[in-house]
Amino acid sequence: MRTPYIIRIGAQKGGVGKTTIAVNLAVALKLMGYNTLLIDADSTNPSIGFHLGMENANMGTRAFATGKARIKDVVHVHAPTGLHVIPGVVSDKPYVPTAEQSRRFSKELRDSNYQFIIIDTQPGYMKADSMTRADLHLIVTMPNMESCASALRLAAEFDREGAKHSIGVNRIRNRAYELSLSEILEGYSGKVIGEFPEDESVPISIAEHIPSVLLNRRARFSKSAMRLAERIAIGLEPEQGRKTGGFFGWLLRLFQR
């Protein structure tokens, strides 16, 4: 796996949990010891600041993307973890970097010495190679018709462009009227690499401005985020990558010996 490994988190439908997952994944990777950069590329409603308690940034992704600043000028450090963050700054007009700006943006990211770069995008369709070509597109969806329909549409667009993508299913509540994982996989060609339960610790962590994996490591959502981070860090191969933890895992390893 080459570094930096760039993961773009996106969805066409809003409010499915892109930012929550981006923030918690980045913090989890940082806690595992990887040199990680988190970029808020949502130009109309940036919200990484609220999740991390860093609302007052006055220079961020836009300045970097439009070539007004270098990467080191816009990086903010999240004090509790040391995670590097490029926050978004509010504006009423979405920006579209020119081809030249995108190339420079991309080059500077590729040349940096981060191991993981996580980009939180805005809802809506973005070309797979806009700004920078990602190594993995994580499409976030909820187990309902509307968001799955748009997730599958986005996946089809990425397929057309030859970009690698996987799905993360958020806010699973296991109700009868939800789509099950197998129903989602019926229409999807890729893998589901993350499953996140509906968990009250998420709205609490947002209200507290502390990411769930820091605020409550034992919460079910946090565990899912850490599991995803492990899976990504190991190299995205679920078969060899999945480590069964706890007593059962110990038992399995005992018999495999």
Partner: protein, 241 residues
Amino acid sequence: MNREKKRKAYCIAVTSLKGGVGKTTISVNLASALSTIGHKVLLVDGSIYNPGIALALGIEDNAEGLRKIMKEGNLKESVISDKRTGLDLLLVDKPMLTVKIAKPNIVRLLDKVKDSYEFVIIDVPHNIPMDMLFRFIDEIMITATPDMPAVAHLPKLYSILRRKRIRSGLIMNAVERRGYDLDYNTIRESTGIDPLGELPRDENVYRCAMDGTPVVLKYRNSPFSVGIYRIAKAVERRQKI
């Protein structure tokens, strides 16, 4: 005020600054509620990149709507009527990613149709520029959930609306009054917007999302429906002023 006289339909844009707070659900249910009360309503899906109304109403056929207008330019033929809700609909069946939208054309066409309806409700996502709508709409209904990411940027939008003299209303959706939710007063103080109404979190909303029926039709007495009817009444009053 000359402008006011010419037009008949009261045109409402339902929008938000964050996704997933309930724009489409509220648009569909508010339109259905107004239609049930006895008004002639046109519901327009403005989410051209990620359409949702056809899915929310379970309509699969003839949902070309806006794309048909682009092709043929005939508004009357692009509108379809839904018998169940009594609504006239202008839908988008698949994302118009590559279509170049001739904004003046759309506005002109919508202007034309205003004569035949009492209410026009447009579901507008936050990631398309709203400027083109400002000339056409009478009121912007902003939806939000009681958490920071959804309300934090509202003051900026509100100041734009005030500058343009556009009437606005705030609807708080999925209200549960948990300890970590923002409360009404905090929102009013930090945004300066008076909430027009609030809608409780309601399991029936999720249930209906799966079978393509508006909540107000299927569960008339569900807390969400009651809230929607209250907002519909408020909208009726605002139309007259």
